[in-house]
Amino acid sequence: MPVWFKRKIIYFPLLFLFLISFVLAVPPVRETTTFTGDTGISIQAPTMPYMRIGAAGELAIHLFNVTNGKLLTPNNTDIECSAALMWPNGSNLLIIKQATHHDDHYKLYFSENNITREGFYGFTIHCNNSHTGGYLTDYFRATTTGEEVTTTVDSEDELLLYFVFALSILLLAFAFWKQDQHLAAISGMLMFMLGLYIIINGFSAVSTTLSLTLGIVFICIGAYIFIRSSMENF
């Protein structure tokens, strides 16, 4: 057996390994399906992304035939609608077994005792008769004002953030100048607190992702300075 072959023989198992996939490959199943058009019910309900806590309300549900787009009214069909509202943790809050018929659409009612906490609520509306059906799943957020919650930092808070940052940098510079590990440790603590504040409250109008990153970076730098300065004596 030639020497070059002996050297290359090590590559053969690898080659076989790659070729196994071709041997094991199963030919695709040839299946012919005929598209006969969409069928079912399209559910349209004008839900708002934000709701006020403790607000009572009603939801109008309009049903449409997916095939031809025609409105399905409670009078000309035997379709019934049910709905489930979920707490922010996913457990059932309210189950409505049958929606009320109202002119050409259906209505769901909820009282002021239903939405009592802040957070995201999920809901599913399901309409069907014996041979067709449809569903709609969505979510909304309950807030104290019924409007979008925006995280803003007041200008005074922002100034305080700058001040704490400047103080921590100043302390660090002073620690290097005086070779004082304790000042560096306090500087690290300040950076810790700064990072924590930025993570929780955000930073000015900076996007959530960026302020989170900034907060995490500050915490990491603070942890490094704090722990590293304490290890100077080791």
Binding site: Q181, H182, L196, I199, I200, L212, F226
Partner: protein, 81 residues
């Protein structure tokens, strides 16, 4: 020697007093089971909360390192280490 010990004690004192504040802030940010309380926050998601939850541990590690450093410094000056 004395200045070193005094500085170390001040660092530990400040750190120990800051730990409850940090722990309170983190518990405000999320619930104990690791889920984020959306009622209080809009910035922290569950991944960030995991990192946030570690902050107290790192802070405590820093204080512990300061304490160990103080003890080692003292022992070294006494010629025991």
């Amino acid at each position: 020697m004395l200045g070193n010990m005094l500085g170390g004690f001040i660092v530990i004192l400040v750190g120990v007093n800051l730990i409850p504040t940090i722990a309170d802030q983190i518990s405000t940010a999320g619930t104990n089971d690791g889920t984020v309380d959306q009622a209080n926050l809009s910035t922290v998601n569950s991944t960030a909360f995991t990192i946030l939850d570690l902050t107290t541990i790192f802070f405590a590690l820093g204080i512990m390192a300061a304490g160990v450093s103080l003890a080692i410094g003292g022992l070294r000056n006494a010629g025991l280490v």
